[in-house]
Structure formats: structure tokens, C-alpha cells
Symmetry: C2
Subunit: 350 residues, 2 copies
């Protein structure tokens, strides 16, 4: 069991407090907003840091813009403690740490991949990190024992730890998370400026494509500007491909190859966070009444056959009270479920 100080009682800091206390650690809390510390304490995330506290690990869970100041202050106060952070960028915090005397060899960068779209201590949950990837980006100067302390805390929160370099981390999330955010926001931005009559023809494809365009501008501005170099590399590649598509379209040429490569890329995306590449599920489309109960009965029918639903999509219909529900299941059980649903009176469309 360790003494841990968490600086920053927002969503992540408070969730960490809850999870680490549940695992039996002694947790101290600090935040420049005393009401955040007080709420976090009431929720059971730990105690306001006492003068007598001697934390073994300090977890910095503040916005990127406050990171350097916090590490500087607490690094001088706790000269033997191991430091880690939880931000979704990893080279910039390391650069901050390297510019501060005496913390560099004690800092293990971290990124628990457990974002929420809420913020603040009120949304905190002890199970936020369960089964999530938690990337650690230690430098060579960090002793093995300090890495193991941070790894232990991450695993105590239920996460699966993966070690990467800060550069590899920032390059990977630029591709898989930061560029998709830009692409979704830019596409949604075109919708913001379009005539309302055009928007009425929107379908599920556009809705899925732009879902993350609803994310917090403040949070994402911090992330994108902090990882600007890596994001720009990916955006440059995106722009080059887009430009090639435009040239082909203007020349009356085929864009089939681009679409085939898109198929291939789609097939490589893991179905589960950090899991192996997805195997293609089969999709059954079922017409249901769009009323409470219809979905429950549909899922009960699948459960009766002991068939796991891998994914669900609900496509609401115009005007009437019904919907098409796309059920993704493992390809090998799809024919079984199809027969069973038809026998049960369900309207299966495919």
C-alpha cells in the first residue's frame, strides 16, 4: 500500500482517488479550487493533503497549461516522490519536466485511455479505468522501481498497462484520435454552414461520421495545439489523399482504388479497445416498433439463444413509430439468430 498525492480534483483525479482508495491506498488530494477538493473528499476520493503527508507517488491530473507550474511546486516539496501524469499528450509534459531542476529522473508519463465527455469531480467513477489501456512513457533515466510503482497503481485501477516512448504515443494518437477529431469537426462545420433543406437529406453515415464533433472545444484545443506537429503530419497525408481524389474526380477518372484502400483500413481497426484487429461481424437488420419494450424483447430473443450482441445501431424511421435495428454478431452465429428471430415473428431484413 502506498501514500499517493493526486493534484487536481477533476474528473480523472477524483476517479483515480476513488479507484486507488478502493484498492487500499492512502490518498491525499490537492486542487487550487478548494471546493473541488471538498467535493472529491465527500465522494470518498481521499483527504485534503496534510502538512505531514509524505507521498511516495504524486499524480498530476491538471490541464496541460497548469502542468509545469504544478510539477515545479510539488517537485520541490516532495523531493523523493515519483511523479506521473494523466494527459493525452506525452512529449510536451516531458519537455516541461526536463526544464525543471530535479524531477526528470523521477517522472513516468502516463495516459489512461479513459476519456469522458463530462468534466469535474461530480462525474467521477471508481471503475473509470477498468479494462482500459493505460500507456506509460518512461525515459531511460527513470529507475525500474519508480516505473513499477506507477505501473502498480495503474493496474490497481484495473487498467492494462502498455509501455511506449512519448514520441510513439503522440504519433499513434495523432493518427487514431486527434486527426479523426479534426476531420469530424471540419465535416460538421460544413453542415453548420449549409442550407437547412440540404441537411434534411442526412442519414446514419453522416451521423456516425460526425459524432465526436460534439466534443468539448476547450479540451480539444489544448490537445490539438499541444500535439500540433504530429497532427500536422497526419493531416498533410490526409490532405494529399484528398487532393488526389479531387484531381481524379475533376479528370473524370475512377476513385475505386482509394475506396478499396479505405475498405482495407476499416478492416484493420480493432473491434475492442487495444484488442486484436477485428474480424468482420455479420449484421442482421430487424424492423422493430420504436416503443419501450421492443428492444428488450429483441435482445431477450438473442439471449435465449445464448448469442452475444457485439454491436447495435438504431436507425429511426421517418414519421412512424418504428426503427431498423442493426445487430452485429459473430458471423458464424448470424444464420442461427436469423432463423430464430424469423421463427419468433421478427421482421428480419437481411
Amino acid at each position: 500500500m502506498m501514500q499517493v498525492l493526486i493534484v487536481g480534483s477533476g474528473l480523472l483525479g477524483t476517479s483515480l482517488g476513488l479507484a486507488l482508495r478502493q484498492a487500499g491506498h492512502e490518498v491525499w488530494l490537492a486542487d487550487r479550487l478548494s471546493e473541488h477538493v471538498e467535493l472529491a473528499r465527500k465522494l470518498g476520493a481521499g483527504q485534503p493533503v496534510a502538512a505531514s503527508a509524505e507521498p511516495q507517488v504524486v499524480i498530476v491530473a491538471v490541464p496541460p497549461s497548469q502542468f509545469r507550474k504544478v510539477v515545479d511546486e510539488y517537485g520541490r516539496r516532495y523531493v523523493n516522490a515519483t511523479f506521473t501524469d494523466v494527459s493525452s499528450i506525452k512529449t510536451q509534459p516531458l519537455a516541461d519536466v526536463e526544464s525543471i531542476q530535479g524531477v526528470h529522473g523521477r517522472f513516468v508519463g502516463g495516459h489512461p485511455m479513459a476519456g469522458r465527455e463530462t468534466s469535474g469531480p461530480a462525474g467521477a467513477r471508481a471503475d473509470l479505468f477498468v479494462d482500459r489501456l493505460w500507456i506509460l512513457t518512461p525515459t531511460e533515466e527513470v529507475p525500474e522501481a519508480r516505473l513499477e510503482e506507477v505501473r502498480g497503481l495503474a493496474e490497481d485501477c484495473g487498467s492494462v498497462v502498455r509501455i511506449m516512448t512519448p514520441e510513439a504515443h503522440d504519433r499513434a494518437v495523432a493518427l487514431t484520435s486527434h486527426t479523426p477529431q479534426v476531420v469530424a469537426s471540419v465535416m460538421a462545420g460544413l453542415i453548420a454552414r449549409a442550407p437547412v433543406d440540404d441537411i434534411q437529406l442526412s442519414g446514419q453515415g453522416l451521423r456516425d461520421l460526425t459524432r465526436i464533433a460534439g466534443s468539448s472545444p476547450e479540451l480539444w484545443d489544448d490537445i490539438l495545439t499541444a500535439n500540433a506537429d504530429e497532427v500536422d503530419v497526419v493531416l498533410a497525408a490526409f490532405e494529399a489523399q484528398l487532393s488526389a481524389v479531387r484531381s481524379a474526380l475533376r479528370a473524370g477518372a475512377s476513385v475505386r482504388e482509394m475506396l478499396h484502400v479505405g475498405n482495407a483500413g476499416r478492416a484493420r481497426i480493432p473491434a475492442k479497445h487495444g484488442g486484436p484487429a477485428r474480424t468482420e461481424d455479420a449484421v442482421l437488420s430487424v424492423s422493430v416498433d420504436d416503443r419501450p419494450g421492443a428492444l428488450a424483447r429483441l435482445f431477450a430473443a438473442a439471449a435465449d439463444a445464448n448469442i452475444s450482441i457485439e454491436d447495435v445501431r438504431i436507425d429511426h424511421m421517418l414519421g412512424r413509430e418504428n426503427a431498423v435495428v442493426d445487430l452485429s454478431v459473430r458471423a458464424e452465429v448470424a444464420p442461427v439468430l436469423r432463423e430464430l428471430l424469423i421463427a419468433g415473428g421478427w421482421k428480419v431484413r437481411s
Copy 2:
């Protein structure tokens, strides 16, 4: 009741046959592949066209590349019939018709917005068009009576008809459907070329963004090249915005405004096909065992409270047999459902 000839016994043509026969019409079928006509006939979609047939309406349901030839041939054979089509582009078929003697004043372009990701007669369903938008694009030369014939057939299939000009249609779908396809495919194309270690950090955002990148390259090559001018206009606007983002990132400037405009655009997208702009639903995240039955019990709990689930997203967890299920419900009932689920022992995360 009308005599209708459907040329093309693929997915759309065969589904139309099923729907129109269900509505009581007499349906004739033709296809250059006699085995397609035979399968469509067996499914109950109509009879192979007889020499004695005198169709009042001819529905052309062939790929864009065959459209002109088919209209030319059948336009001369049935000199009084009204002609319509079902393709997802509308100016090119009209130009084809205008280049043919004697069909122009009898042609009402149509686009039932009811795509599937399968093709061929075997996937046909009589209810494919129910509650879908069906766009009609008549020119001024078309007598009202012919428009009403086509409108009647669309409504008999269960669709909601909207009248637009061919140009307005092609401009709208370039924005809401064709450009999103290019954007998703280009993004997925970057994934196709990326190191596997980077892809492992993929999350739900990337999965949603690239879902339509799995669509048929052959079909989409036809659509994109046929609507190339309108698509290029939207892609140019996309590229200009993307370029502005890159300039800001390289200059170390904020991209917050772009993200805010994305928020606004996202909020304008209708929740239901052709419906009014969406009101923001509230999302409840619930931890469930990833086993058959858990989802059924969860939906049953919502149904017991008479609460309609507007949308579902399942986020599978790494390594363990559980998942986080995001339930979208109307904002006003979210607190009720939350209390009820917690009381029922569910782990509600937000």
C-alpha cells in the same frame, strides 16, 4: 392499380416488385441476366415481361452505366409509358434522357433513400422503402398526371415523397452523403498504411468515423464520378477548412473556433432520416457483463419504466468479459432512468 415494368432485378428492382405487388399492382420484370429475373419471380416480385404487356410506368433500376441504353430501348417500345429511375444521382440520368428522342417529357427522376450494403435480388425486402424519404425530381416539361403516377407508386411502397430539382438533390447528397464517404474512406486509407502498433490505440471515435469506409468501392465509384462536380465543390470547402486548421496548428494558434463550429454543425443533423433537427439526448453509460442476457436485462429495465432508448453504443472492454453501454434517451427522462438503474443494481457511470 397499374401495370408497372421494372427493368433491373437487383436489390432495388426486386424489392420494388415485392412492395408494388403487395400494394396490388401488376408487375412485369426485365433484366439482361435471365437468372435474376427468375429469382425475382420466385421471390414473388412479378412476372417476366410478356409481349402483350402495356406498362403505364417503367421503373429503370439498373446501374448508372446502363441507364441510357435501357431508356433508349424501352422508350421506343413503350411510347406512352411514364419513366422513372431509382439512382442516387439525378442530373446525369436527366441529361441521358434529354439526349434521347421522345422520353424527356415522360421522365420523372427518383431516388428512394433506402440503400443497403448488399446487392442482388436475394437481399430484396418488400419493406425496404417503408418510412424512407423518396426524392422525386420532375422537370417542368412533365405533366402533373405523370408525376402523380410515380408519386403514387412511391407512396404505395410506404415512402415519404419530397419534390426537389435534380440540381438541388445532387448538391444536397454531395454534402450529406458523398463527401462523408470520401472523408471516411480517406481516413481509413491512412489506417491501412499505418504501423500495427499505432492502430492498437484506436477507440470508438475512429470506429464510428470510418464505418461507411466499409462500403462497396464499385457502387461508390459510380456515384462519386457521376456527381463529381458537386462533390468537388464540397471537397474544396473541406480542404480549405482543413488547410486553415493546419495553418493555425503550425503557427501555434488556437483551433477552438473550428471546434465550436463543429459543435454547431453536429447539433443541426436530424436524429431521424428527414426529420427535424435533433434535440440533444442525454447519454447514460452503464457497465454490463459482455454476456448474452445482460443487454436484454438492461433494455427490459428501461422498458419497465416505459422509457424509449433513442440510440445505443456498445464499447467493448479489453481482456475482460464486460462492456460499457451508452444509452441515449430524451434528456428529460434521463434522471428517472438513472435512479431506476442504480436502484436495480446497475453500475451507471454517468
